[in-house]
Symmetry: C2
């Protein structure tokens, strides 16, 4: 298996980060294995760490009082995973981050990150890229859930997460699309003439 | 009336921005009056500018194919107003930014802003604050619309936008809460025992 630290540095997020700074980042990280079904962040806890996915696949999910799950987003390799709002506000997270495969994350404490961020302006640049992507994604999702029908949402899912379809169970995809699994079956049949 | 440029510099967003830099920002801005009912950004156009509200009140709204409106957010004085995703991606905006009162915005072109941002790291700090606030707001809204009932949403609206209630028509608030105006009447009556 390739060295996970190499993966981080080679990821597009780290373009613009000098090698010496990337090494400083890596020194602060700790690899954490998260088994399939386990959670990197649990709803109700105040997150003190965030991570970079070097292997595997996660989803962010809300669970309502009846135990019904709602999937916010999928996060495959080369994504940052964090309950960012809760971490910044130092509050309990409303959602969990669950591994859908046996996964590995390079985890860093938020406190260490803040210190690193102060030390070199390159980290603000990276943070802006991450926040902008997250914001753009959330705005797109908002619009899709408000205005688009199941077929269009499914099409966008396929484009947004290429190659994820075969790694996900049908009910996970349905939960992300905000439709019943049976509706997803219908949509899929339409797509395959 | 107070000088709008003073308002900008005194706003919490500009804490940490040196005076000389704030002056550079102001030199790039142009005051734009937006009459009640007019739009600062129109859905379908690719936004080239964004602004800082020095007076008045705006809402971000989607309009669906049947002409039904959905209010994303309200933006009173001391807020940045922009169709940020569309501006960054250089794409047409999916939503409009409409003045709900006679308003004034200090507008700046995105290109000028990007140049300014390159010139001093203080601007990245400000941008991170704005993006974090926007992200936190969007995540909170997502959860509210998914899980909270009309009463709870209304309570949060009152806390989030103190003093806005009397400046807004009932159907605007209902459109923000994602409920029918009649449901809002019921909720309000409950709140006033």
């Amino acid at each position: 298996m390739s060295d996970p630290t190499v993966k981080v540095i080679q990821s597009p997020w780290f373009r613009g980060v000098p090698d010496s700074e990337a090494q400083e980042f890596l020194k602060l990280t700790k690899p954490i294995k998260v088994k399939k079904g386990a959670r990197f962040i649990e709803a109700g806890e105040t997150p003190k760490i965030f991570g970079f996915v070097t292997q595997g696949l996660f989803r962010f999910l809300y669970t309502d009082q009846e135990g019904k799950e709602y999937t916010k987003v999928f996060m495959p390799e080369n994504s940052f995973v964090s309950a960012y709002s809760a971490m910044v506000l130092n509050q309990a997270s409303h959602f969990s981050i669950e591994a859908l495969e046996n996964s590995e994350v390079l985890a860093i404490s938020y406190v260490d990150w803040l210190k690193l961020k102060e030390s070199n302006p390159c980290w603000n640049e990276l943070l802006i890229k991450v926040l902008e992507k997250a914001f753009i994604m959330k705005e797109a999702r908002e619009r899709e859930l408000l205005f688009l029908d199941a077929e269009s949402r499914y099409q966008i899912f396929l484009e947004r997460f290429p190659n994820l379809e075969h790694r996900l169970k049908q009910h996970m995809i349905a939960s992300y699309l905000g439709i019943a699994p049976e509706s997803l079956s219908r949509v899929r049949k339409k797509e395959q003439p």
